[in-house]
Each structure stands twice: as C-alpha cells, then as structure tokens.
C-alpha cells in the first residue's frame, strides 16, 4: 500500500514538475509574442520615418528645380502676377517639408563639414569655408536626409 502510495506521489511530483515546465514555456511563448508585437510597433514607427524620408527625397529635386527656375527670372518680370503665383507654389512646397519636420541645412558663412555638406568644387575664397551653395541640404532633427552641395574656398596658397 505504502509502496503504491509512494509511486503515485512520485508520479504526481513528476507531473507537477512537467506541468510547471510546460506552463513556464507557455508563458514564455506568450510573452515572446507580446514582446514581438511591441517590437513590431517600434519597427513600424521607424518605417514611418523612413517613408517620410523617402518621400522627401523624391520631392526635393522638384524644389531644387523650382529654386533654379527662380534664379533665372529676370528682375523686370518679378512683379508679374503669374510669376509671383509660381513662387508662391514653391513656398507651398517648402511648407510641406516644414510640416514633415524637415529642415534646411545652414551653409552661408559656415565652415565646410562633411557631416553636413558635400564638396563639389574648390574655388577662390577663404580656405575651408563654404563660398557658394549649389543645392540645399535637408535634415530631420539630427538625421541628414541629403547633404548640402557646396563650393569650397581653396585659400591663397593654392
């Protein structure tokens, strides 16, 4: 009788241990899944930012071309209302960037910094300084979407 009882108790103990093991495994799996979902959410948010960036990268050349067009407008025609309207559209586009928290990178009177700027050419001017901006650069917070394309001064020695 006691032997049988012992056996049953042993079996019960084993079953208990197994149950605990399986239950823990189940909990772990469930937790893994919840964590996975959370991670997916973060990933999704990152994805949204990169979509924003991707969209900006597609839009930026259009704004660049608008800027180029603006530069070629003869002084005499700047008062023309149709031309004024077009310039307003450019401002509207720039507004879209602002609403996406996209900012322009400063270049005027700045020292050349490869973190922010890409050098296209060296020209007469103070060494290491940005002399002319060719294409605007943009950033979201501290992240560079596109560096500004600039011409750099080569100094007097060269």
């Amino acid at each position: 009788m006691t032997k049988e009882k012992e056996n049953i108790e042993k079996l019960l103990e084993e079953s208990e241990a197994k149950k605990n093991e399986y239950f823990a495994g189940w909990q772990r799996e469930k937790a893994d899944f919840i964590n996975y979902k959370q991670k997916e959410l973060t990933r999704l948010q990152e994805l949204l930012i990169s979509v924003k960036e991707g969209f900006a990268l597609e839009l930026l050349p259009v704004i660049d071309n608008f800027s180029l067009a603006e530069k070629t407008i003869p002084e005499a025609e700047k008062g023309n209302n149709s031309i004024k309207g077009l310039i307003l559209i450019k401002k509207q586009l720039e507004g879209v960037l602002k609403s996406l928290e996209i900012e322009e990178i400063d270049t005027l009177n700045q020292k050349f910094d490869p973190n922010l700027h890409e050098a296209i050419e060296e020209i007469e001017g103070e060494e290491g300084m940005i002399i002319e901006e060719i294409e605007k650069g943009y950033k979201i917070k501290d992240k560079i979407i596109r560096p500004a394309k600039v011409k750099i001064g080569k100094g007097n020695n060269n």
């Binding site: 799996e29 180029l68 070629t72 490869p114 973190n115 700027h117 050098a119 296209i120 050419e121 560079i144």
Partner: protein
Amino acid sequence: MTKVIGIDLGTAITKFASIVNGEPKALDNREGSILTPSIVAQTKGGERVVGILAQRQAITNPVNTISGVKRFIGRRFSDAEVQKELKLLPYETRERSDGGVEVKMADKWLTPIEVSAMILQKVKADAKDKLGEEIKNVVITCPANFDDSQRKATKAAGEIAGFNVLRVINEPTAAALAYGFGKKDAKKILAYDFGGGTFDVTILDVSPDTVEVLATGGEAHLGGNDFDQIIINWLLEEFKKDQGIDLSKDALALQRLKEAAEKAKTELSSSFEASINLPFITSNQDGPKHLEYKLSRSQFDSMTKELVVRSIERVRKTLEEIKINKNEIDEVILVGGTTLIPAVRDAVKEFFGKEPNKSINPEEVVAIGAAIEAEILTAKEEGRTPEGDIKSVLLLDVLPLSLGIETLGSVNTVMIAKNTTIPTSNSQVFSTAVDNQTSVEINVLQGERPMATDNRSLGRFILDGIAPAPRGMPQVEVKFDIDASGILTVVATDKATKKVQSIKVEGSIGLSKEDIEKMKKEAEIHAAEDQKKKELIEARNLADNLIYTCEKTLKDNADKVQETDKNDIEAKVAELKKLKESDSIDDIKKKTEELSQAIQKVGAQIYQQQQQQEPQEKKEEPQNDAPEAETEKE
C-alpha cells in the same frame, strides 16, 4: 550568446551583416545606408573621417583621401600590376622597407592594412550602434584569387580594428553559404560577381566538408559605373545635337547628369522606360535650357550590350581554362549590384540555359554569407546550435501543403494555407446549394490546385439531418484543427439542429518530401489553366445563383411584376441558362451582369409598390436583388 558579424570588405564599398532574430540580415551604417564607401581621409581640419563623409570631402582634399587600398593589401610595391594601379592614384605612395606599399595621409605613412583597419573600425562602431553591444567575432571576405599574404594582411587589418577574426573566406564561398549550397551533396557553383567597378567570375566545388576554388577570372575595371557612363555620354551627345551646347565642361551639369543616369539605370530594372528631366541644366544668351529625354529599356540594353557580352565572354574563357562544360555547373549565383539589370540576368540565364540564383539581394549576399559562417563558428565554440537553425526549443512544424474542402462546382476552398505554423485551427460557415437539401458531404482536400479533383482527398464524411430550407439558408460550420503532431480533425456542425459530424486524419501531413515537391510543382505548372477553370466555375456559380434569385422573385411577386419586365427577365434567364454551360467566361459574365441589372430594376419596383400599398403593415424583407457569390456546399 555572442553576437557576430560578417564583413564584405570591398575595393569600393564595404557591407556588413549579422544574425537578427534568427535571420541573417545586412545592416545599415550610422548614416542610414547598407553601403559604406571604402574611403578614409584626414580632413583639412585634422579630423579622420571614413565612408560617405570621406567621399563628401574628397574633391577638396584629394591628396589626403585614400580609396581603393584593397588593390594593394598584402602585395609588393614592385609588382607590375600594383605599379599600373599606382599611376592612377591622387594620393602619394612609396615602397616600404619590407617591399610592401605605403600610402601617405596627412604627413603620415600608412600601410594598406592600417587603412583597411580604419574602415573596419567604423564598421565596428556602426555595428555596436545597431546591435547594442560590442562585436568581437567576425568573418571577413576577400576575392578568391587573394594569395596567402593578402589573406594574412586582411586578417591583420581586422585584428588591428579590435576584432577576433574567426576566418577570412572567399567572397564567392560566402555567397554559396548564404544560399546554403553544399550542405548535403557536392556541387559545382559559379559566382557571377558584377560590382560597381570590377567583374569577377569564380567556379567552386562545394561539398559539406570542403570548398575548392576551381578557377577564377575577371576584369579589374568593368562594372556598373561603365553603364552609368554610357547613359551620361548619350545624354551629352543628344543635348549637343539638340541645343548645340556641350555640357561636358560644366562640373555642375555633369554632377546632375551623373545622378540622373544612375537613377535612370535603377528605374529601368523595374520599368520599361525612364524619364530624365533636368530643368535649367544650363543657359545661354537665349535664356535657360532644359534637358528632357526618355530612355527605353531596349535602347539602354542595346547601348550597353557590349559590356554584358564582355562579362559573358570572361565566363566562357574561365570555364574553358579548366575544361568544364557550362552544363556541368549545378548552380549559378548572382553577386553585385550590376546583376540587378534585367539584361545582365537574361544574358546569364541564356548562357547557362537555366535560372541563376538571385533571391538574396546580390549586393548583400556576400556579407550575409560571412555572417552565417561567423555564427556557425561561434556557435561551435560555445557548444550551442547556430541561431537561425532552430527557431526555439519548441520545434514547430509548418504545413507543407494547403488543406481545404470541396465546395460548389468542385472548387477546392482552402481552410488552412500552406506554410502556416501548426498547431492551428480555422473555421468557416458554409451553406447548401439546392432547396431542401438535407445533407452535405465534406470532402477534405490536400494540395494547391484550385479544382477539387486535382488534389488529394484525405477523407470524406456526410452531415445529414439538416432541416429542409431554401438553399443558402442552413448554416454549416466547418472547423479544421491540426495539433502539434499534425493530426487533423475536421468537424462539421449544423448550427440550427446542433448536429455534429467529424473525421480525424492522422499522419496526413507526413507526406514524403518527393510527393510534396511533386504536388507543388504540378500546382505551378497548371497555375494558369487552373485559374481559368476556377474563374469559369465562379462565373457559372454566380450565374446559377442569379437565375435562382430571378426565378424566385418572379414566382413570389407574380402580381407585382409587369408583363414586359417578366418576359424580358424570362428571356434573359433562358439565354443565361444555355450560355452558362459554355466555356466562355466573358459571355457568361456579360449576360449575368445584364440579368442582374434587369432584376435589380424589378426589385426596386416591387419594393416601391410594397411601400405604397402597405404603408402601415410590417414591411417584408426585400428580396436578394444583388446576389453575391456564396460559398456553398453541395
């Protein structure tokens, strides 16, 4: 568990990959790109920059911007090939006391090993950023034709950067590893590596224990840049012809052309035409000039044909050198960004008469293979299973073939799709196909074909005792449940009478690999005709439903329908009944649509009459005047 990375240390571009959540994956650097230019510079401000930053300042600082040192690593200064390369460099070089090469960066003489170490240091920092921990264990790749001294130098560069270099492996070997070739049986593999600046071909004999390089070949200066240059030249020529202006002297215009050419090349990989629009590219006394051209894929292909032919010729020669017939190559792997060009892929496919391996991004495949090797080596050292080999301690199977039931018109309605992880279950409600139907037969199917008869029947059973009702009214819930050991239970329940009938299929999942492959292949082969058949059945079912609804509407509302409408509908019903036995899907669809419109009109009339005649009484439910395709069970 130690995290590891694999590094593809390239001549122009370096990439790295790791195992993330069990999957090998190429990782971004801090600048947000997978591609890190293999360039190191000391800026005029005295700061050391690596990668894209070094590239951005290169033009203002060419003598202190070091690129392409891979061409000199572990080689002798006096080597004829090295001498040839040295002539093309903007920075200073000299012979080292031990006969090697030294490059000068900001008054300091450095060995190619030290410069490579600087690139690898950046990779180390970027990987730490990305993976959240310091990385020690790495595998670095090198070209198959690197000799012992070049390999030792590559390893040394890794060690100087602070890595524990587990191994230096061949780039094509890494690519073969990424695809998992040679795990079971020996295979002859050809890696076709068309990068940005170089073209390499390597033939390997890969088996579970050994990798033997049978032959290597290539061209040191043939790559994606040449494709870009061809587009640029074409644009320059066209513009000169149309506008009489030579843009080749205009640094700014050239820069814009270069970017546009790269973009057009990329676009042409997925579309058949690319527009190149560069407004205000230049101006003369007449005012601003714009550049606007369209480039079609076929135009691009014929312009660049010569480059593709050159690469294929190189493959042919390399095969000839070791007297191997191209038919003896078991697998062809595409490596390098240039293999994304459709014409390149087509040329390789045509030459070998078989589909090359391209499912892993060819720009990442080498780094991914290196990461896999690093993980395998580290796991061995730590006495564990490599991550990615098993997902967790709990081994979960996936369903190899879809499971479904046969529904109206002998259609296979999938209940659990293939590749679903088990255990799992799914239920769906079905109905009857004819009036007063009192039983339904459940035929359990396994396979991918849309028609029931083309699949394997795992068993069938009958649920009877359904209360007589018009078709579509009874609700029979069918539930599929597979447990972890692959035992399938199918339960059918009549929701009205609660009558239940079920079947248990054991071992149904355990088909042999060959059978599964055969069934999948068949599904692929017949995909197009099956789809047509399915569409035809669906169109017929839709027509059938509509005929039923029309006849019922006319019968139930005989007093409310005008004679002309009734005749019109009856004629259309007769026509559709005859037509639905034909094979013409379009005709059936067209006539069904006509009849549907006619009956909708009648339905609206009946509804209006009812509202006028019985404004006080409880309104009758409107008839099904827009029948939908129902999932019904015969």
